[in-house]
Symmetry: C2
């Protein structure tokens, strides 16, 4: 590791100078939203360094913060990264030796309020983990042919709800709705009895496309700005009753949490790894020259009310995905559908092959049949209880540093009376 | 009919002084979008009459045109209606007798370009016609229990794609995608072979709600600003192959057309009628004190390339819907999901009980098994062909006038090579 910042960054920090993820923050209650970059325990306020003539970007004058920057495309993203990395490096005196500018430009992370970093025009959620698809199919359809025949031919997805995407730290109100546990009795109504999380990541679309102009799978990478962690909260009882024939709706739309820092593909590039072999081979429009995933370790923990520490309930990895991000994006646009900067493409629950790598309680407890013990607090869970906080983290281990995503957390609070 | 405008409006015009729908238009290529109201063959430019001191509204200073107005709620909508109706009435001299102001404020409708009238944060499509649900179920699942058991307990819906909602008159590019006609052969890829329209209407959300705060079914009407016509274009082959288990995605997301004029609930109120009796009775959160539909005549016509006139292929009516708009809205928010001003809630295909009132070709041709003859051109259709224009209209017949929605049209153009 040669590159170092003049800002002290501990080796287990998620935000060394090799990362430099983008977010939108408010330095205090009275200020408007502004774009920033995470470095160690600080947020670099891009509007301050821009005013000082050290950075320029169209997004600094825009109320939608990052949207214009996202729309510029990879050359501009690379240029911005180079500028910021230089400014923060230990060998560059401009900011390092200017105490008053440093004071203004570097805001302690503990002081700021993070916001949803882009205007999300549309949010799509895929279903790209084969292990997740197989487990869900086994639970709901049975062990013979648990994966529907279309699954191996296309990256299945549904449109999610954009309005209820919230930033990490936002409480999640337990949804009320209809459930239908027994075929011959009428449905009940009330607070969901099967609240679940889903361990996911999401791609943030950079450059969009015009309606009617599909994006070639080999160009798709240039339309992805970066990745965030995502928890696609799910009410399994509501979902199970409503989803035939048009898919999930209220079982999902009460809230979806994302992490505040968008880690760029530039920062992730060194953690790229081969994607799984696909059999049958994909149709030509999904066959890509380079088919890659990223080696990103993922964890989800449940922290019950009153506990000091969360209990890690699953350890998974982004590399388990069968369909790649670029295949997802190419498929999404093959019918002419237009993507816009800031759109969110969720991967779907990222389950791995091992029992301890399953990405949701539905799988971990086999739809509530096998309660899951939480470490350190003597209790167990079939589904989430009020007061439970779910904390997702993700990181890549580099040589002497960590490229991380921070956390994506949310606490379940009771339904309204 | 006592109320009359000083502007001459023919009795079959959709836009008499009793209607006054809102839209967003550009008077010419160089001008920015601005809000307007339709009157006869003219658009009343609200920014002009506002400058003249005759109207004030927050939306006149806003780049998202109607969003701020929608957020004001019914008292403000009523006040605006009263002001505009008075200004246009035959007995009011202010505008009537001011030739130069009239010249500026009233733009011939044929000259303007209409735009999607609101920023659509999210677009939801329901499935509220029992006749449509029954026919689709019979075609895809079989004649025994064609309607899934959840259908009578809740208004089923899915999230649609907001980015590809386009204004009437926009060409629709035939989507490419995967189809799978035979269970034992691999899927094919190519232009959709089963392009269809869906005759729908959509509610435009006015006042939204905060995340976690459901809207009571008896208050729901105050959250609906008005209605537009909608064509939810559908590629049946793509849809049939992709929709298990997460619902429609690329079979719908290539384009959804709406009509440009939002007809307000105030204008429609006199055409309210009783909604169908619901059996079983809905759960308490869906049981409303007043359960009403609107008597809106709907038609869809297909105009093949080179033909002068469209051939009317269906005549339906909004009153056939089983689930009311207010039940749809209350259900949508019961889990805490937040709606925002400008959100679109499609009704789903509006099919009536008679064979000539079915709202899409899937039903009219029974999935292509019974070709439909088009009048006046000697040809027939299983599904839409390139060059076909689909024209949807809707209107309510008043005493000596028509409250209409104008048209919602789009032409199918070939897939890219
Ligand atoms: Ca999911
Ligand atoms: Ca529809
Ligand atoms: Mg969600
Ligand atoms: Mg559509
Ligand atoms: Ni959406």
């Amino acid at each position: 590791m040669s590159l170092k910042s003049f800002i002290e960054v501990s080796p287990d920090s998620h935000f060394p100078i090799q990362n430099l993820p983008y977010g939108v923050f408010k330095p205090d209650l009275d200020s408007g939203p502004r774009p920033g970059v995470a470095i160690g325990d600080f947020v670099l306020d891009l509007s301050v360094i821009s005013l000082a003539g050290l950075f320029n970007g169209p997004f600094l004058n825009s109320s939608d913060c990052l949207a214009q920057f996202l729309a510029l495309g990879r050359p501009a993203w690379k240029e911005a990264r180079t500028t910021i990395q230089k400014l923060l490096s230990s060998t560059e005196p401009t900011l390092r030796d200017n105490a008053s500018l440093r004071e203004q430009a570097l805001v302690p992370m503990g002081k700021v309020e993070m916001l949803v970093p882009t205007a999300i025009g549309d949010y799509t959620d895929f279903f790209s983990s084969m292990h997740h698809a197989k487990n869900c199919g086994t639970i709901f359809v049975g062990p013979e042919n648990p994966i529907p025949p279309n699954w191996f031919h296309l990256p299945i997805a549904y449109h999610g709800r954009a309005s209820s995407v919230v930033i990490s730290g936002t409480d999640i109100i337990r949804p009320r709705g209809q459930g239908h546990p027994a075929p011959n009795s009428p449905p009940y109504f009330g607070p969901s009895q099967k609240m679940d999380f889903e361990l996911e990541m999401a791609a943030v679309v950079g450059l969009g496309n015009d309606l009617g102009k599909p994006i070639n799978v080999n160009d798709a990478v240039d339309h992805i700005f970066g990745l965030v962690l995502m928890n696609d909260w799910s009410a399994r009882d509501i979902q199970a009753w409503e989803y035939i024939p048009l898919g999930p709706f209220l079982g999902k739309s009460f809230g979806t949490t994302i992490s505040p820092w968008i880690v760029t593909l530039e920062a992730l590039e060194q953690f790229a790894c081969d994607a799984p072999q696909q059999d049958p081979p994909p149709l030509p429009y999904l066959a890509e020259k380079i088919s890659q995933n990223y080696d990103i370790s993922l964890e989800a923990a449940i922290k019950p009310a009153g506990q000091k520490h969360g209990s890690v309930v699953t350890k998974s990895n982004f590399k388990h995905l069968y369909w790649t991000l670029t295949q997802q994006l190419a498929h999404h646009t093959i019918n002419g559908c237009n993507l816009r900067p800031g759109d969110l493409l969720g991967t779907g629950t990222i389950s791995g092959p091992e029992p301890e790598s399953l990405g949701c309680l539905l799988e971990l407890t086999w739809n509530g049949q096998k309660p899951l013990s939480l470490s350190g607090c003597g209790s167990s869970r079939k589904f989430l209880e009020d007061g439970d906080e779910v904390i997702i983290t993700g990181y890549c281990k580099g040589d002497g540093y960590t490229i991380g995503f921070g956390t994506c957390s949310g606490k379940v609070v009771p339904s309204p009376p």
